[in-house]
Symmetry: C2
Subunit: 320 residues, 2 copies
């Protein structure tokens, strides 16, 4: 699941996280168990567990608790993806068929609910009220983000709209990954807020890069169709920058008002790739990664701190 | 919402429970807020909050906490109903159109998720790890029950299958309502287990009566089509008793294997009503209500204990 040198020492613990997740599918209906195992083994990068494990180890949290917390957060993430794919009608995720593509909506809704329930149970077993509240709060932020997107109007969002949306969608869960790790550690409480801010910035960088890959990647490597967001009517940062430069661009306007054909979308993707906004967008992701490093200024020096610092650049270089 | 003499002293607190639920819809997208408010005001009997308020007051729990707990449990209940209606394709609930009947599946899934997130947040704010674990555990039991039902084969269930299913669907939430009230109270821990068992028995009585009403009620009073469970391929206790007496009944078999027409189902409902199994089923609900009363044997005498004892009979007589 991870093939970068500076993280190999996490491998054993990441395997334990996977085992912990798998253990939550035992004893249920066989169809549910197999759907669950399929979802849990289909290529997630485990980037949120990596943040939790690194931040928690840096702050001397118990390994057992960190593994439960990591599993809980990765399952919360997976549950929201399952419902999300149903809502979008997405057929591919991480290059694999979604549950939604071969199950009924009923089975998909319930599988998401089940994974969510197991995630909540794992979080509750940590016996840390503050972490549990944060877990519930994060779920509510993610769902509210999805609702705003569903009911949102089709216009070109501002950069602030975009930042809010990616915080709801991604940053909040990275913030949970880092903050909850600090909450369950015995370390001084002064680390809690910077840990959260680190998570937020890393999550922001991660999502910006994900949105760039939607323009620059190919279907095989990204695991979903190129320009998917744009075709779904969700302009991301490259399109927003492009729209600031060319507010009257007719293919952009067609994509926004839903009148675009597939070849309009192809044309827009090409124009965005050639306009220089991709590099500008990546600069912004780099800035977030640097901000994340600054948040760690007061943290004790250690191998984990070093890895957390490298993580931002790894995220940015991952598939580009 | 309640119009029975022995419960009128709860009215102020039940209003506060409603206000607490409503307060959780503020600040979100207007369409979500209005769907949420519609759901929360469409005729729920608030029987779970009644159990929580009575049990908690009997054991001297703080009113503020009991109101949050009641709101949290009623919202958890509502969230599962929203997803349930989507899964069943139900168009009516409590005599009102379901969300599902006029919203897209996407909006329905997300509204359920939102209500669920708010319920989890309220539960987490109680700052009681044991209650939180029980809350998550109960969600997992309910979802697992729905999954078993979705994937279940169409044969006549045994009485044990039926009891397991209604525990998963209803009893577990009543058990949570009573046990969590005991958990957040300052009373001796010896009351926790009997409180849970009280909830379980009352929930069982409640669901059995609900299943009887599906045969004996009319659509206007019950709020959904008569014989709905049978038409959906879910035989409940009256049909199970009937099947034990008449295992070769051809309309029963047709309803079980999915080949029944609407008039077959009408015919079966009539046969069940005339066979005497309804009275036998109600006897069983009465027995559960008596069991519930026995569980309260060691509890201190008070108006609340008195009301908890009467609740079973009220449930049984409610609409018959």
């Amino acid at each position: 699941m991870i093939n970068v040198g500076f993280l190999t020492y996490l491998e054993d613990r990441l395997i334990k996280v996977d085992q912990k997740m798998m253990s939550r599918s035992a004893g249920y209906h066989p169809d549910l168990t197999s759907a669950f195992e399929h979802l849990m083994t289909s290529g997630g990068k485990r980037i949120r567990p990596i943040v939790t494990l690194l931040m928690g180890s840096l702050l001397d949290a118990e390994e057992e608790k960190l593994i439960s917390l990591s599993a809980s957060i990765e399952m919360l993430h997976t549950a929201t993806l399952v419902h999300d794919d149903l809502i979008d009608g997405a057929l591919l995720r991480r290059g694999n068929p979604t549950l939604n593509s071969h199950w009924t909506p009923a089975a998909t809704v319930l599988t998401g609910d089940h994974i969510f329930a197991q995630a909540a149970l794992l979080a509750a077993e940590l016996d840390n009220s503050e972490a549990m509240r944060l877990f519930a709060k994060t779920l509510s932020i993610i769902v509210n983000g999805e609702i705003s997107q569903l009911f949102g109007r089709s216009h070109l969002p501002t950069r602030d709209d975009y930042y809010r949306r990616i915080y709801e969608k991604t940053g909040s869960l990275f913030a949970l990954s880092a903050r909850a790790a600090a909450l369950i550690s015995p370390a001084d409480r002064k680390y809690i807020q910077p840990a959260e801010e680190y998570g937020k910035e890393i999550g922001k960088a991660f999502q910006i890069v994900d949105d760039v890959l939607d323009f620059t990647g190919d279907q095989v490597r990204v695991g979903k169709p190129v320009g998917n967001d744009l075709r779904q009517g969700t302009p991301t940062l490259p399109a927003i920058y492009y729209g600031e430069q060319f507010p009257e661009d007719e293919v952009l306007l067609a994509c926004l008002d839903g009148s675009a054909t597939n070849s309009d979308a192809d044309e827009l993707i090409q124009r965005i790739n050639q306009s220089g906004v991709i590099e500008k967008t990546l600069d912004e992701a780099r800035e977030c990664a640097e901000n994340a490093v600054h948040k760690l200024g007061d943290f004790p020096e250690s191998r984990e701190k070093d890895s957390l610092e490298k993580l931002g650049m790894y995220i940015i270089d991952r598939d580009l």
